[in-house]
């Protein structure tokens, strides 16, 4: 991004410049804020608050049917009777943990490799980044075909390599369906994290790397003591964005397994949606939504506070 040239006009030394405005400063700001706040309030904040309220009622979602206050019944229900919730919760947590490791490490390795001056470097970077611009539902549709048991890319390749014994029903086997979908997720998201790491690598001081090399440090020592510390802020950002995108996973699972087979690939976002709109259990669906909201906030709120604090300085 370009930064504007600073004006050469000297600031007034006598007093801090005050915005010449009568009345309350907020009145001047309000016209600029109003449209955003109205939309945000009505279509984002209000639905979230409503979800919290609806998680305490019994309701099937039809406007003509009355909502019955149920207290904590919906929560009791999901924590005690709802076995799918336990699978969904476990899968969501597993997905976050796996995402923090697999695509992140892969992205870092790719970024380190593509930071060298190489022939066709930009083309190579694009190859890894392109899946990130596709609609998740398109990725899901592509990979459903790739995993096709008979004519799909994976099983055909295994056959031609003489590894027929490795052939699986990738999306139809409850033991592995979730991991099969996760592979598509890795393919889709690695490029994005790679770009973040590449940007972060630009901030590594080149003279320090040179100095380390002159002092006879090995490549690993240089990476460990110079590159890695400089990448710390980038790491924070990548990890936070990865957590957020992991908890938002929905399209990919809908498109590939719809939570099946036998609910084995359910996650919280999808189970909440299914309870509300497929099973017409708005109370249960919204209670699940609140659980998802609490997990999300618990994971990202500390980071947000930290960012804005840093910004203060």
């Amino acid at each position: 991004m370009s930064t504007a040239p600073t004006t050469s006009r000297p600031t007034h030394p006598s007093h801090r410049p005050r915005t010449p405005r009568r009345g309350l400063p907020i009145l001047g700001a309000l016209p600029f804020l109003a449209p955003a706040l109205a939309l945000y309030g009505i279509f984002l904040l209000f639905p979230i608050v409503s979800a919290i309220y609806l998680s305490f009622v019994r309701w099937n979602g039809f406007p003509t049917v009355p909502q019955i206050w149920a207290g904590l019944a919906n929560y009791q229900d999901i924590f005690t009777n709802d076995t799918v919730f336990h699978t969904a919760l476990r899968n969501s947590v597993l997905w976050v943990v796996l995402s923090l490791v697999v695509p992140t490490v892969l992205a870092l390795l790719l970024a380190l490799a593509l930071n060298h001056r190489l022939l066709g470097r930009n083309l190579l970077r694009s190859a890894f980044y392109i899946p990130a611009v596709l609609a998740s539902i398109a990725v899901a549709t592509m990979w459903t075909w790739i995993y096709n048991p008979n004519s799909g890319l994976v099983n055909s390749t295994l056959t031609s390599l003489g590894l027929s014994s490795w052939i699986q029903d990738w999306l139809g086997d409850p033991q592995i369906a979730l991991y099969s979908v996760f592979v598509a997720f890795v393919w889709q998201t690695t490029g994005f994290s790679m770009v973040l790491f590449l940007a972060g690598l630009q901030t590594v001081p080149a003279d320090l790397v040179e100095a380390a090399k002159l002092d006879g440090a090995s490549a690993w020592q240089t990476f460990r003591n110079v590159t890695l510390p400089a990448l710390r802020p980038t790491f924070t950002v990548v990890l936070v964005l990865t957590v957020i995108s992991s908890l938002k996973v929905f399209d990919l699972i809908v498109g590939m397994t719809n939570g099946g087979p036998a609910q084995s690939s359910q996650v919280l976002a999808l189970w909440s949606y299914s309870q509300s709109f497929i099973n017409h259990n708005f109370g249960g669906g919204n209670a699940l939504a609140v659980v998802l909201l609490v997990i999300t906030l618990a994971l990202v709120l500390p980071y947000l506070m930290w960012t804005l604090k840093e910004d203060e300085r």
Partner: protein, 279 residues
């Protein structure tokens, strides 16, 4: 352009490894293109990397007709072309107020707005459905623009706030001394400087809007208002065994986004840093 004159074997090894990885990464695309040009019988018979026995270009026309591609692409384009510029203006105005004007509780406001970027759509979707339904805005391309705008605001405000903050304060002071009010400062000074940021956000938001599925799934259920991702999902569930046409339809649905990406690559790399790297 090779800076190293002498052969650098580790680097050559690395390059070969990267090229192999990139080819693996791109294999799904090649597989999809090949499939899209074969007949179903051909797919069952031949090896996956074999060229089509007969090049079935008609898969594309048939898929476009079956999936009502022109209708759904029209809907998607209509939504994106209204939502994206409108959303940018709304976000830019709010970000300008938070970054350049002084009022109480600015920080809290920014935190509350930014939090919206982190919440999965599914948390709010059930009440949103009831809200839009009571407003009579379900199954309407105009209706879905409202929640689209709301959910686009957080990340854009956060990004533009960072950008506006990086502009020197002297600009405002100079403009104020020249007698500019808030509006003139915003329109004449700040917005022109934000052109690159706004251009990057425009492209990114266009792609994000074109790709959106979770909200559309709930809020657009009628056949005639569906967007491209919904049509793609429907195509998969209805004609899953017609692999040639299915892959042709996937290709046609991602083509606009791929073209936009190839034309505006640098915006994507800049946008990836949206609010991520504090400069």
């Amino acid at each position: 352009m090779n800076a190293v004159r002498r052969a650098n074997y580790p680097l050559i090894g690395l390059w070969i490894a990267l090229v192999v990885c990139a080819l693996i990464w791109l294999a799904p695309f090649a597989f999809m293109v090949l499939t899209s040009l074969k007949s179903t019988a051909d797919i069952g018979r031949s090896s996956i990397w074999a060229l089509p026995e007969v090049w079935r270009w008609d898969n594309y026309t048939a898929a476009a007709e079956r999936g009502e591609l022109w209708t759904v692409a029209g809907n998607s384009a209509y939504i994106a072309l209204i939502k994206v510029p409108l959303g940018l203006m709304i976000s830019a105005a709010a970000a300008f107020a938070i970054a350049r004007l002084r009022f109480k509780r600015q920080r809290i406001l920014l935190i509350v707005i930014t939090l919206g970027a982190m919440v999965p759509v599914q948390v709010a979707i059930a009440p949103m459905f009831t809200t839009l339904s009571s407003m009579g805005l379900l199954n309407s391309t105009n209706g879905i623009i409202l929640p689209y705008l709301a959910f686009g605001i957080p990340s854009q405000v956060f990004f533009l706030y960072g950008f506006f903050r990086s502009l020197p304060r002297e600009l405002d002071e100079a403009a104020r001394i020249d007698g500019s009010g808030n509006w003139r400062l915003f329109v004449r000074v700040i917005l022109p400087l934000a052109k690159p940021a706004l251009a990057a956000l425009f492209i990114l938001d266009f792609v994000a809007t074109w790709n959106e599925y979770g909200m559309a799934l709930v809020l657009l259920q009628d056949q005639d208002v569906r967007t491209v991702p919904l049509a793609l999902q429907a195509f998969q569930s209805q004609f899953a065994s017609n692999y040639g046409q299915l892959n042709a339809f996937i290709i046609m649905s991602i083509l606009p986004v791929l073209i936009v990406y190839l034309m505006f690559q640098r915006f994507f790399t800049q946008g990836a840093l949206a609010g991520a790297i504090k400069g």
